[in-house]
């Protein structure tokens, strides 16, 4: 029983440390600055961005694609690891679900930032046309958001009940809140039955819904004629890219949460080792699709394709292209190949590079293509032939990234990041197994 007590003590949410307060205030400030920049954009129009008629989409869209990709982590850890009976996922799933929820929420907000007329948002429903890939996005994003919210919430019910008791004396207010959220969870067989079934359904749903989400995201591009987007390879390319971005984000966040919450006993080197192998697998699959995506056009060498590839491989975008390919894929694959490379500190570094490279990868997918249209770029100011984000775009994009981290921070602060009930059950099972053995 005593171990159970320490378990709750270890895993129950605790107040922010000083560092936590500073971190959160920093994020809030970044979000506020971005909000001011956005209001300015609303007033003046998107002329404050550096997007123009040729580079008609910029970092708002690549940032949106990044968020959508990152949200795939929930599908990966929960559904795939569940289906393959990888029980080491237990201490990691909740953080994965939190990242998923934060990322898909921000994806929805980011795409609205790119709309020049957000005041006409309702037209998407009033005048919806089902043949437009944007309408598919309008349907799938809220669906995925709902499923990932439920996937986070259902397994939390017993933990909320535990927290209600835990905070009874220390903080009656919090206790009341957790009590409300626990929906009168008592742990009766009937409740457990319903809960298990519900979790099963949403856990099974998150995989197809996640795959559809990534696919539609890819189709936003591949349904056009544009060189570099017009590819039948695009959907699996995006899915595998999302696998990389999501797993990278998970590794990074897990490392920080483990350090801040001192969870070294729960998230061990063993977990990082496993995560490292998973990330390595993701990178190898993504590398395969990258080779497909660039090698075949290079082989057939159509004129327009070559202009596009030339700017990527040797031209203006070469530094970025090689950074995202070597730094974001090849180096991680090599480092993660070694056991030492899968130690927590090394994993954190790799995870961080993977996340940053994943962000820039989307930029490399979106921008160069738009600057290589079928007809020559003539009759427009010279600056329109290039694109680099404006101050407004950066401020707003940083704000969306900060808001994503803020959502994660707040959820990590108030939710038990490691499932208490399930950890306890698994430990009991282990114990009984040991006693029966001996």
């Amino acid at each position: 029983m005593k171990t159970h007590e320490t378990l709750i003590k270890d895993l129950a949410p605790t107040k922010f440390t000083k560092l936590g307060v500073i971190w959160t205030s920093f994020l809030v400030i970044v979000v506020v600055i971005g909000a001011i920049a956005y209001v300015d954009q609303l007033i003046k129009g998107q002329v404050v961005t550096n997007m123009r008629d040729y580079a008609l989409w910029g970092i708002y869209i690549s940032n949106f694609v990044f968020f959508v990709a990152t949200s795939f982590v929930g599908s990966v850890t929960v559904a795939i690891l569940r289906l393959t009976h990888n029980s080491w996922r237990t201490p990691l799933v909740r953080i994965a679900e939190i990242i998923t929820l934060a990322a898909i929420t921000m994806a929805g907000i980011t795409i609205m930032i790119d709309m020049a007329r957000p005041d006409r948002l309702l037209n998407l429903f009033i005048h919806a046309r089902i043949q437009s890939p944007i309408t598919w996005d309008v349907i799938i994003i809220p669906t995925f958001l709902t499923v990932s919210l439920l996937l986070l919430y259902f397994p939390l019910l017993p933990d909320f009940a535990i927290l209600k008791n835990h905070f009874k004396t220390d903080s009656p207010k919090m206790s009341k809140l957790y009590g409300m959220l626990s929906l009168n969870w008592t742990g009766s067989d009937k409740q457990k039955n319903i809960q298990t079934k519900s979790i099963k359904i949403v856990a099974l749903l998150i995989l197809p819904v996640g795959l559809i989400l990534q696919t539609i995201d890819a189709w936003l591009f591949s349904t056009t004629y544009r060189i570099g987007w017009d590819s039948t390879n695009f959907a699996p390319y995006f899915i595998s890219g999302a696998f990389v971005a999501g797993t990278g984000a998970l590794v990074t966040v897990i490392y920080v949460v483990r350090r801040v919450k001192k969870l070294e006993n729960y998230i061990t080197d063993f977990h990082f080792d496993k995560l490292g192998k998973l990330l390595s697998l993701a990178c190898i699959i993504y590398l395969y699709f990258n080779i497909n995506e660039y090698l075949i056009p290079f082989f057939t060498a159509k004129q327009a394709e070559m202009t596009h590839l030339d700017s990527l491989l040797f031209g203006h975008y070469a530094p970025l292209f090689w950074f995202v390919t070597i730094g974001g894929l090849i180096v991680p694959i090599i480092v993660l190949f070694f056991k030492k490379g899968r130690k927590p500190a090394s994993m954190f570094a790799i995870g961080l590079i993977v996340v940053i490279a994943s962000w820039w990868k989307r930029y490399v997918i979106v921008t160069p293509t738009l600057l290589h249209p079928f007809l020559p770029i003539q009759g427009v100011p010279e600056s329109w032939r290039e694109y680099s984000p404006s101050v407004h775009e950066w401020l707003i994009t940083f704000a969306t990234l900060a808001m994503c981290l803020l959502i994660i921070t707040i959820l990590v602060r108030y939710l038990p990041v490691i499932p208490i009930q399930r950890t306890a059950e698994e430990r009991d099972e282990l114990k009984t197994a040991k006693t029966t053995e001996s």
Binding site: R52, L121, A128, T224, F374, Q378, E382
Partner: protein, 319 residues
């Protein structure tokens, strides 16, 4: 156990068949009855001779002749989303005559109050490869019959009319710019800021068939094929403005196109001069046809004087 199963299956099949038969007979009976009813109600016995579209004469009962109810706006037979009835507008651009005089662009800019940095009609300096001859190519919205922009629009803001014209409802457009990404001809232009148009445009009552009058911030603009001129029985701005008669505008159903000076058979012109369309391979089915720059009446070099690589809309002099 097995016997039992077989028996029940047989019974089931038997019942199913009977039920199906009964339904079929019932259905036939009902349709017969309704037909009888219909006939008894309407048959007048008076026959009228009519000619079908392929020229055969047929006889129809007088009662079955119903006047076609017009779906168009009753006032003038014109609905902005349907287009001008029974027309199909096309354009032919004769590249042999174009020397980049840019009068088309200037007239278009003026007529549509274009004040941004990107004109809707551009004259590209083209050269397929080093060894081939350079030429000037006026290009605007191709008014495709399979318009990629219309397919991807999530809110039906950009639409295709029966008369062939592709237009934009700037009061519905949400500014997602997906149509611009989808258009392979790069003809769409965005209002990144509040357009600085003359008062006459700003005060005009908005209608989708007169683009730029006024332009709307945060929405897409493009060549509208000048339906506002057509209804006045006039040719589009670019056609009238061109001093070299490059643009021919007309109606595919009437099989005629005119550049204001000469009127030609559309189909014959394309046949005689090897007409083609831009990026035909994409399957967009444009309404704009080009005649190749052969037997040129003008010098390519003459156009270089007017050529401005970084400008397509003249800016008013800074005062």
């Amino acid at each position: 156990m097995e016997e039992n199963n077989k028996n029940s299956r047989r019974k089931f099949l038997d019942k199913g068949l009977k039920l199906g038969l009964a339904t079929a007979i019932g259905g036939m009976a009902i349709s017969k009855i309704s037909k009888l009813n219909a006939k008894s109600n309407t048959n007048t016995g008076e026959l009228v001779e009519l000619m079908t579209t392929d020229g055969t004469l047929i006889q129809v009962d007088a009662s079955e002749i119903v006047e076609v109810v017009s779906t168009h706006n009753k006032e003038n037979g014109y609905n902005v989303r349907e287009g001008i009835p029974n027309r199909k507008f096309v354009m032919v651009v004769d590249l042999a005559k174009c020397k980049n005089a840019l009068k088309c662009q200037q007239a278009c800019n003026k007529g549509h109050y274009i004040t941004g940095d990107n004109a809707w009609l551009k004259v590209y300096k083209m050269q397929e490869s080093k060894e081939t001859a350079p030429y000037w190519m006026p290009t605007q919205c191709q008014h495709c019959d399979e318009p990629a922009c219309v397919t991807v629009c999530p809110v039906d803001a950009t639409f295709k009319r029966k008369d062939g014209i592709v237009l934009i409802d700037n009061e519905r457009c949400i500014g997602c710019r997906f149509c611009m990404a989808a258009c392979p001809y790069s003809t769409r232009v965005f209002n990144w800021s509040e357009p600085e148009q003359p008062e006459i445009a700003k005060d005009a009552e908005y209608t989708p068939d007169y683009c730029g009058s006024p332009s709307v911030k945060g929405t897409v603009d493009k060549c509208d094929f000048c339906p506002h001129q057509i209804v006045k029985n006039e040719l589009p701005f670019c056609v009238t403005a061109c001093p070299n008669g490059v643009f021919y505008f007309g109606d595919k159903y009437e099989d005629t196109v005119t550049n204001g000076e000469e009127t030609l058979r559309f189909s014959k012109l394309l046949k005689d001069k090897f007409g083609y369309r831009l990026l035909e391979g994409l399957g967009t089915e444009p309404s704009v046809y080009y005649l190749p720059p052969v037997d040129r009446l003008v010098n390519f070099e003459d156009g270089l004087e007017e050529f401005t690589e970084f400008q397509s809309v003249e800016k008013p002099e800074e005062s």
